[in-house]
């Protein structure tokens, strides 16, 4: 079945440093979504990418979908303590198929 892998599993950064998490799928995806889960909270939708090579930005967050639509990345510029949490990618392999989540990357930011 479809597998979605994320690396790294954990990342500690100093406030102000950049952070990147990578997501790789075993199959071509029709779209990919990113979610953020704050400590003690539940996952909340951030963004969806649909097109090959698509790049979207949300303030300090940059999301990219690979040309082959099998990988994606989330890059945070100049991390802040409010960025702390676990970031999950989730991919859909085709119309009508369910979403498969990656294992998540837990980001910790030292003030």
């Amino acid at each position: 079945g479809q597998q979605v892998m994320q690396i790294p599993q954990y990342q500690h950064v100093q406030e102000g440093e950049d952070f990147t998490t990578y997501c790789n799928s075993s199959t071509t995806l029709s779209n990919i979504q990113w979610y953020k889960q704050r400590p003690g909270g539940h996952p909340v939708f951030l963004i969806q990418l649909v097109k090959s090579g698509e790049v979207k930005k949300q303030k300090r967050l940059t999301f990219q979908f690979g040309e082959a639509k099998k990988n994606s990345s989330l890059h945070i510029t100049a991390t802040q303590t409010t960025d702390v949490g676990t970031y999950f990618c989730a991919g859909r392999a085709g119309a009508g198929n369910m979403l498969t989540f990656g294992g998540g990357t837990r980001l910790m930011v030292k003030p």
């Binding site: 079945g1 539940h42 996952p43 649909v50 999950f88 369910m98 498969t100 998540g104």
Partner: protein
């Protein structure tokens, strides 16, 4: 309601007892997922309902776990003869099913503690 509602928010039970967890999805959402999340871990897929199709039960960890979705709306996850390793937060999420509108909205979760 405006969001995904889960109950109970917290449940403490004794080993061997049965528990039922309820999820009330957003009205009109035909897709519903159950996940389990142990402390500090990722989302473990349990089961997926989509409209009137047969559910994808491939993530259920044992035959002690079952789920149903009545009338395409409310879902109940049942754990029979609970074990200590069942302790976790059980998250429900729902969405529309068609491409372009399949963003998941999660409930706040049901925290299960098995003593």
């Amino acid at each position: 309601g405006a969001g995904v509602s889960q109950s109970p928010s917290n449940k403490v039970t004794e080993k061997g007892k049965d528990v039922e967890l309820r999820c009330d999805p957003i009205s009109g959402h035909t897709a519903l997922y159950w996940y389990r999340q142990s402390l500090g871990q990722g989302l473990e897929f349990l089961i997926y309902f989509q409209g009137n199709s047969a559910p994808d039960k491939s993530g259920l960890p044992s035959d002690r776990f079952s789920a149903e979705r009545t009338g395409g709306s409310v879902s109940t996850l049942t754990i029979q003869r609970t074990q200590q390793e069942d302790s976790a937060v059980y998250l429900c999420a729902s969405s529309f099913a068609y491409s372009g509108a399949n963003v998941l909205t999660f409930g706040a979760g049901s925290r299960l503690t098995v003593l």
